[in-house]
């Protein structure tokens, strides 16, 4: 049984330090944007959250590939937690972006921007992941079908990203391109530290949840040792993976 709690304390401290450093840089180092002014500070939380959530969906897909390759259900659980975490980050990104849109464009949401709408589609697609799992009673089939879903969803994310990049009409500013960044040095540094902080937060929370789930599994095994199989009722239908 792997131990996911190993190194969690160090990782948590590193995450806290990085996020604190990022906040200091955002509010006391990065210059005010010439056109947007202070409202542009949302960029340093909104964009890293969106990037990390999309990468989280891809990560979940890659873990699902490992599940289908090995048949080991622990990979399914890792994939489930990765997608679950990415969804939480995605909701935070969406709300932060919506606040920025209201301040900048005067609307909480606009439907004519491919970036916004495509992100919403990805988010809604992965929002069906948990109900999809719940709809399948047999845990073995649930894990297999969920992995296929996660792989297809994970593959859809980069394709969607490329399609949006290819779109001509957009409201969203393009500050990060394949050839580099349009951000000035201090802004870029602040953004990269923020991105690192949010990435570390994602990894920490992923490990945290995996450690918690692992502890509960060990609890169940301990109880089985103590009371025997007969005393433990079979698990009822659930969206969460079981081992």
């Amino acid at each position: 049984m792997p131990t996911y709690g190993k190194g969690l304390r160090g990782l948590s401290i590193l995450t806290l330090v990085t996020i604190t450093a990022a906040l200091v840089l955002v509010f006391f180092y990065a210059p005010l944007d010439a056109s947007q002014g202070f409202i542009q500070k949302i960029f340093y939380i909104h964009v890293p959250l969106a990037i990390v959530s999309l990468c989280g969906f891809v990560f979940g897909g890659l873990l699902a590939v490992m599940h289908l390759r090995t048949g080991d259900r622990r990979w399914d659980m890792r994939s489930y937690v990765a997608i679950h975490m990415a969804l939480i980050f995605g909701v935070a990104a969406l709300v932060a972006g919506s606040i920025w849109a209201k301040a900048s464009w005067g609307h909480w949401w606009v439907w004519n921007d491919p970036t916004l709408v495509s992100y919403l589609i990805v988010l809604l697609m992965f929002a069906t992941y948990t109900p999809f799992r719940f709809s399948i009673e047999d845990p073995e089939r649930q894990a297999r079908y969920a992995s296929v879903f996660a792989i297809l969803g994970g593959a859809f994310v980069p394709l969607n990203f490329i399609a949006v990049r290819a779109a001509q009409g957009f409201v969203h500013p393009r500050v990060l391109t394949l050839t580099g960044s349009n951000l000035p040095g201090p802004m870029l540094l602040t953004f990269l530290v923020s991105l690192l902080g949010i990435t570390l937060l994602y990894v920490t929370l992923w490990k945290y949840e995996m450690a918690a789930k692992n502890a509960r599994i060990q609890m169940r095994m301990l109880r089985r040792r103590l009371f025997g199989d007969d005393d433990i009722s079979p698990l009822q239908r659930s969206a969460a993976p079981t081992l």
Binding site: I39, I45, A92, L205, K213, R216, D230, Q236, S238
Partner: protein
């Protein structure tokens, strides 16, 4: 203090409320998540303590460690679980909406 002296003033009267709102949303989401996890972790810890107590009682009653999963072992606790918390976490009497993990 010098950092605050050179830092741009925070325009909390205009765009500041939106910026604060975005960052508060982020903190709230993380806080809610961590709180839920902490509650579940506390539940797991309590159940673990109960299970350890049961195991210790069983071992004391039999003189030697009971066979794993042998409810008929000497000193084994009654089949009815005295610790509903541990039973709930272990899957006994679970509802459809509850996560087994």
């Amino acid at each position: 203090m010098s950092l605050f002296a050179i830092a741009p003033a925070l325009p909390l009267h205009a765009a500041g409320k939106y910026v604060a709102g975005a960052y508060i949303v982020f903190v709230l989401v993380i806080l809610i998540y961590v709180t839920i996890m902490a509650i579940r972790l506390g539940r797991t810890e309590r159940a673990l303590v109960e299970l350890n107590d049961d195991l210790a009682r069983r071992e004391e009653g039999s003189g030697d460690p009971a066979a794993p999963g042998d409810p008929a072992a000497p000193g084994a606790p009654a089949r009815r679980d005295p610790h509903p918390e541990a039973a709930r976490l272990s899957g006994a009497g679970r509802g459809p909406g509850d996560s087994p993990l």
